[in-house]
Amino acid sequence: MTLLEASGPLGPLLPAHLSEFVVGIVLFIVIIVVMRKVIVPRFETMYSRRIDEIRGGMDRAEKAQAAAKAALEKYQGQLANVSSEAASIRDQAKADGLQIQAQLRDAAQTEANRIVDSGRNQIAAERTHALEGLRKDVGAMATALAGRIVGQTLDDDARVNQTVDNFIKSISDDTKAGAIRSSTNSSTK
């Protein structure tokens, strides 16, 4: 081996130095080792992380979309529930209103009947009272009339008639006054 260009039968195809051949291989192996231990793992780790990230991003987006869809369906369902509920409440209110109306009407009717009944009872009581009073008065009046008739001459027909007429008239006046007071039909005969 010389330091000058090899000049054998192979000419420049033979290495000038075996050292080139060996060093070339050694350096190449060193680079391969660095690539295998450091460089390529760095790239591949980063690539797989990137793929995970992209895949994860897509999953997340899908999940978000599903969630949004679920929420939409839920709200639509709720909306439908609400409107049907509102309708049922309206119906209920209408029914309640009708019921309350009926109840009030019944109550009013009952009250009216009660008032009418109590009125009737009062009238009846007053009528009884008036009748009793009248009976008492009629006796007294008959007695008074009889006294007056006895005190005058019975010959004079005209005077007797007039006395009777006056009496009846006075009764009639009494009756009228009683009628106004009790505001009922005349209790006089």
């Binding site: 130095h17 080139e20 350096l27 680079i31 591949e44």
Partner: protein, 279 residues
């Protein structure tokens, strides 16, 4: 580092002596022994630390440094630096590894990436200061990588198929009539086990060697003609030649990339064929 090229004898009109010393390795730190013996004797540093070996080491350091920097603190959302790293990484990982090897390509990505970057950086040394010399124009380095590829695809092929089945697969193509096998089997053997590594090594070496030679010719020859006394046509031709050398440099950048890529793709291709179930 490519010193002593041609050493055209200026102003005399003598034709320059063009020797190949531009491609010679020199000890990086010439020892006293080497100097005294006129370069005939040497210590181990004279051989193991030549200028070209130093270039290869620097190239490896650049490759490792580059990848350590671009892969530092990687984020899911890449920075500009990381984006560039991913771009280069994906050229090899997806463009070469995945598309050539297919299933199980991941385990070859470090190899292919190392191969591509190591060759590329060393090739581009030919176009950039301070080296101005492509490392793989020294064939020793090219043979080294070719051997590594040869070992790789045979190793994975034997591991996948077993030695017997692998040899059968590599030398006896399916569907060939029996009598023809007499012809085909030796050809297949030569093609798969000899031609592949040899062509890999020579292709890489020859492209870089020839490219560097071209650059030398255009630059050295152009300089010689440009500085030739009292000969305007020579001077014009020399100027044109120097201008042309820029084009050659650009071409060499492309060739440097292409050779790195081709070496890597072929390695992946060989691995793929060694792993495949059918030939």
């Amino acid at each position: 580092m490519s010193n002593g090229v041609g050493s055209p004898t200026l102003l005399t009109g003598e034709a320059p002596v063009f020797d190949t010393s531009a491609f010679d390795s020199q000890p990086l730190f010439p020892s006293a022994v080497w100097h005294q013996s006129g370069g005939e004797q040497y210590t181990w540093t004279d051989i193991w630390l030549t200028n070209h070996i130093a270039m290869a080491i620097i190239g490896a350091v650049i490759v490792i440094g580059f990848w350590l920097i671009v892969s530092h603190n990687m984020k899911i959302v890449p920075s500009r630096r990381q984006w560039f790293g991913e771009y280069v990484y994906n050229i090899i990982r997806n463009g070469v590894g995945r598309s050539m090897i297919g299933d199980g390509y991941q385990r070859f990505v470090p190899w292919l990436l190392a191969l591509f970057c190591f060759i590329l950086v060393n090739n581009w040394f030919g176009e950039f200061f301070p080296f101005m010399f492509p490392t793989f124009a020294k064939i020793g380095f090219a043979w080294g990588l070719a051997l590594m590829t040869w070992l790789l695809y045979n190793y994975v092929g034997i591991r996948r198929n077993g030695f017997g089945h692998y040899m059968k697969k590599m030398t006896i193509p399916a569907g060939v009539p029996k009598p023809l096998l007499l012809l085909v089997t030796p050809l297949e053997f030569i093609s798969n086990f000899l031609t592949r590594p040899i062509t890999l090594g020579i292709r890489l070496f020859a492209n870089l060697f020839a490219g560097h030679l071209m650059v030398l010719i255009f630059v050295v020859g152009g300089t010689y003609l440009l500085t030739y006394t009292d000969n305007l046509p020579y001077n014009l031709a020399g100027g044109a030649s120097l201008l042309m050398s820029f084009f050659i440099f650009a071409l060499e950048l492309l060739v440097g990339f292409l050779q790195a890529y081709v070496f890597t793709v072929l390695t992946a291709q060989y691995v793929s064929s060694a792993l495949s179930d059918e030939h």
